[in-house]
Assembly symmetry: C2
Homo-oligomer: 308 residues x 2
Amino acid sequence: MTLKVSDIGEKELVKYIIANSKDITPDDTAITELTSTNLISTCDMLIQSKHFPETMSYFDMGFKSITVNVSDLAAMGAEPLGFLLSIAVPKDLDLDSFKELIEGVLSACSYYSIPLIGGDTNEASEIIISGTALGLCDNPLLKNTCSKDDLIAVTGDIGLAALGFNLETPDNIYVKNAIRPIAKLREGILIKDAGASSATDITDGLASELHEMKRNGFGFMIYEEMLGISDEYKHLAEKLNLDYLDLVLHVGEDFELVFTISEDNLKNLSIDYKVIGKVTDSDSIELTLENGLVVEIKNKGYEHYVSE
Amino acid sequence: MTLKVSDIGEKELVKYIIANSKDITPDDTAITELTSTNLISTCDMLIQSKHFPETMSYFDMGFKSITVNVSDLAAMGAEPLGFLLSIAVPKDLDLDSFKELIEGVLSACSYYSIPLIGGDTNEASEIIISGTALGLCDNPLLKNTCSKDDLIAVTGDIGLAALGFNLETPDNIYVKNAIRPIAKLREGILIKDAGASSATDITDGLASELHEMKRNGFGFMIYEEMLGISDEYKHLAEKLNLDYLDLVLHVGEDFELVFTISEDNLKNLSIDYKVIGKVTDSDSIELTLENGLVVEIKNKGYEHYVSE
């Protein structure tokens, strides 16, 4: 007989998590010693039917629930301090699946060097994971503090996960990015240290994030040819009847960082990056297509309530 | 036509919350300046069908979601620092109901002087509220650090909410405690400052919390006559065919604090409290009934997975 989580009881589930994480204080709250700096805190809730593709393993669900929160720390250039996890699972979930989920959580915590310091378990009709990531940062990198003539850059290829969500073949970079995205924590710290003027993580698509980063009186010009969209990418999108620019601009979920930085400061930056455009004073967000035409990039990011 | 939250879109919901809370940084994460001390952090997830009685208003749901988390800060004797709120609501929820919920959240934040500094919104089939409370404390009050011969005390009447969950008449102290419990934040700080040796908040029932507080080699003796159970209470329980001691010991949800403190230090304590027993070396948790009989208090607290 396969054990269900209901055979075990909530306190035993908590004990299981605590026994597998050396950083949790088994008391009412976590306790973290602090020195004088800024506490960086962020929370994100993931719901199985909304956020996890059906093909995703329990391990990957756990891993992603850490990644989405750590990615916000990365966007601030913060050092990780601790993670709190509230998790609800159906009572008939296999205990092995629950353990796999927690393994994913702990594996991600270890990967990002962010200790799991507290949490809560619950029962629900589907898996719900709400995480809070805590970090420290003396000078956090805000999202809407760009300067005119700054370059706009990203930490890697964008749009890979967007395509991956639509592919059925598992062994490729697109599906890999969709299933196991990685937050750019180290990159965020190095971008801040290099003197970037602003940054955010691309969760809802480049277009949506650029609209978040835009200040009054400033604009962005992005160049399609700088986005590095491969022929393979265009070909796969076409086969799926999807607009490749839509995928690249309006989906997100790669958890790359987009940041603005002066040309001088960019020389200090020792990570892989891709310059994709420039801060202007146009007061609008525009894209120069490969054919030379300039179009406005609208904000049609990812909104759960309106897109369904 | 009544507006649904789906008519508005997630970003507008977030804007609504931000516009109504002056403490949220509209960036990737919250930023909180720190001096040298301990960061106290805790999270709790509430799910409509499990945690909210059907008669509960949206305002009270919002209020309680803050209370359950702040109560953990209270149990540590921590000063409140900030609150992060992840909330999921059904897409067809009335916008007015959503606003009422947030009003409850903000009203509680104001009541406890804990600023709402961040959050996340989502869509789900029922209301899910996951909160993270952050606090500061130089010497947090742990739960399993009692000393022999300490007195055991509580901050108020326990078992009121337990009875209230079973009553249909609305205007009484029992239902009031079930619907709008209040965390004992100020009391927790004063209990710590008075020199209590241990404390926790009573969420799952006195019995369950005493089992959490028990150290190897130590025991607790509780006296029924010190619990202050009124004749009215016993009478109402009897009418409902409920065991009044079961209600008092095994339900919780009043969010009173239970703490251990030396007789000397108790003299420093300037709040209302009720001594209910003493720390012994019996290595078991016992109750002296009004008739003089001594019985063991078992741990049959509230476990979502096994109690249903």
